[in-house]
Amino acid sequence: MRIGFPRALVFFYFYPLWKTFFNELGIEVVLSNQSSVSLLHQGVRSAIPEICVPIKMFTGHVWNLLEQDVDYIFIPRLMNVEKDASFCPKFLGLPEMIRYTIPEVEGRILCPDIQASNEKMDRVSDYKSFRDILGVDMKMIRKALRKASEVWDRFREFCYKGYTVTEASALALGELTESQVDICQDCDIKIGLLGYVYNIYDPLIGMDIVQKMRKRGVYVKTFEMVHDRIIEKKIQSVKKPLFWTFTNKLWGAADHFYQDHDIDGLIHVTAFGCGPDSLLGKIIELDSDEFCKPLMTIRVDEHTGESHLETRIEAFIDMIRRKKNKERGVGA
């Protein structure tokens, strides 16, 4: 049995968990190709024109998997991974959207409804449908979930150490060793990079922004490097948090970055037309004035040019470096 993972959306974050889970069930995991222009175009052609670029990219990845020899494509309906928040409505309707925009996918979707209370998604009853489709029993599922949650803990530990999601998942799955990765810890500038994993880590949408910043001597900190406890504490202190899990995480992280004196500035990467970010963006914009810390918003979509991104982060970094040097009395 081979199951295809579209290399898009929250895949970047949950890959170590899901891969271990399926491997433990004795199922081979097949990844779609790396994001490419042709793949994106395929997605753009079938997705609704108005929708955000990550969904278009996801659609492209599903097409790519249809061309490969897989039995099922894994498109979970992510509803909750914590008690009081859910996902963006587009995630809740994702299986349907894919089914209606790519009719060829009918009967080949593996779509459990995830309604878990934590990120390990260890609510066994969510996977009941696997019994008939994959021919596994609940005992095996329980065992696989346990194993997956071990890997997940390892993965999160690496994240907290400052590794990006892609690095941490390779480390957690034993594909890399720590000495092979340089996270630029000693850089003079530290920037908080806010954005969903599918915008930051997709090589086409985010255009490798983390590496671009590191190359310019910046230590990059993202939301997954901030401890869950810190984020939860912030969110609990808000009277009415936002409705979306990852948006709340970004909010918590942004708040942490604003209060952390080591962080020199914030960059918010958001997709054109992103609903949750439209509200979060305003909140952190208002906060930015309060905390007197620079914030830059970069909006990406299928038309974004790489040089645009480079110019803007370069200018932002230069500005921060100059400000810092001035404060230190070095002179620009």
């Binding site: 859910s86 409505p89 587009k90 009415k240 439209s278 509200l279 305003k282 208002l286």
Partner: protein, 382 residues
């Protein structure tokens, strides 16, 4: 307290509730270009259009002297449930000192809910406050009923603009009635007023019916949806809208023992296409489209604000619904960038398509009924 509220649809009822509770009510002006400009200036760029219009009308109301904004909250995951929180911060950040009171579900934080109720009901006793709500519920039901009729009647009015004029009068007379008896009387009078509108003759075959579905704000508020309904009516088309305040109240305040609300029945139909609710009106809208198709409507117009999260999912089901039920559906997404003429041209083209389709259908029906070999020729010569 000088109270104001979001401007949406038939506003007579919100005005009356607060008035009867003894507050001074500042009715925000009907959304205009200025409202939209103000809203766009102070809102995040990619927030949905209703957010921008509503903040614009809050600003206009505060300029007129309002000091308290009363609105509803929500539990998501649709953005609309969070409007109030951000509106409050925006109003503060641009220096308007208005209190924003947001009603969230009472099951989440009853104490908070109760405190707000006490604040708003002011010196009115609970019994009379409940009575006020009852009277207003009664009124909105009557008004919605009449409004539904105007949307059909407008297609056949002899004097252009007469129905709209009568509807304006209806609003005014309801505005002046404060008791249940009066409301009953006014409703009867208004009903007679509508009956006396002179109509042109039409046969059942000429009737073209278009249903409107979509996000609640853009479907209910004519000032920001380019008066879609009135324009269609002027083209001689019967219109039915899926969203009414009375429906919303019935759906949200109906006790379980009273059976399923109409909206719930529609949602069950929609659930065949979208298994889980997304926090907006997506299941209801899909159910409604199916319902329109089953009731033999000739076309459907789907309205949404640009980038609306739940309606984007609805939109993805439209090709399937259109094919399965053999009904043309047009989606228009609306925001401050919408070119009026562009949308109107598209609407006109859609109406032409719907009309031609109906004619062709009738033509092929007559073919089926008569002798198939000879009729085409005789039809041609006629």
């Amino acid at each position: 307290m000088k109270v104001t509220f979001p401007y949406m649809g038939t506003i007579a009822v919100y005005k009356k509730v607060f008035e009867m509770l003894g507050h001074e009510v500042i009715v925000p002006p009907r959304p205009s270009q200025r409202t939209i400009d103000l809203g766009v200036k102070h809102s995040p760029e990619f927030v949905c259009f209703p957010f921008k219009v509503i903040i614009g009308s809050y600003i206009e109301a505060v300029e007129l002297g309002a000091d308290t904004v009363i609105t509803s909250g929500g539990n998501g995951p649709c953005r609309a449930g969070y409007y109030g929180e951000i509106h409050r911060r925006i109003l503060k950040s641009i220096g308007y000192d208005a209190d924003v009171i947001i009603f969230d579900s009472m099951f989440k934080d009853f104490k908070d809910f109760y405190r707000k109720i006490i604040k708003i009901k002011a010196s009115t006793s609970i019994a009379s406050a409940l009575n006020i709500l009852k009277i207003n519920y009664h009124m909105i039901c009557k008004m919605d009923e009449l409004e539904k009729r105007t949307k059909i009647l407008r297609a056949y009015e002899k004097i252009p603009g007469e129905v709209s004029r009568v509807w304006k009068q209806i609003n005014e007379s309801f505005d002046k009635s404060y008791t249940e008896v009066e409301i009953k009387r006014v409703a009867k009078e208004c009903s007679e007023m509508l009956e006396s509108v002179s109509q042109r003759l039409f046969t059942d075959q000429d009737r073209i019916r278009i249903g409107i579905v979509g996000e609640i704000y853009v479907t209910m508020e004519p000032s920001i949806n380019m008066d879609v309904e009135e324009r269609l009516g002027n083209m001689g088309i019967e219109v039915e809208n899926s969203q009414y305040i009375s429906n919303w109240v019935q759906h949200n305040a109906r006790p379980k023992w009273a059976g399923k609300s109409y909206a719930q029945k529609l949602m069950d139909k929609g659930a065949a296409f979208i298994a889980k609710g997304l926090g907006g009106h997506e299941q209801e809208n899909i159910g409604c489209m199916v319902d329109y198709a089953e009731r033999g409507f000739d076309g459907i117009i789907h309205l949404m604000p640009f980038g609306c999260l739940p309606e984007l999912v609805t939109q993805s089901t439209i090709p399937l619904i259109s094919k399965k039920y053999d009904i043309p559906i047009l989606t228009l997404s609306i925001d401050e960038q919408t070119g009026r003429s562009n949308s109107l041209t598209r609407m006109e083209a859609f109406v032409d398509l719907v009309k031609n389709r109906k004619k062709r259908k009738q033509y092929s029906n007559t073919l089926l009924m008569s002798d198939s070999k000879t009729t085409p020729i005789s039809m041609k010569t006629s």
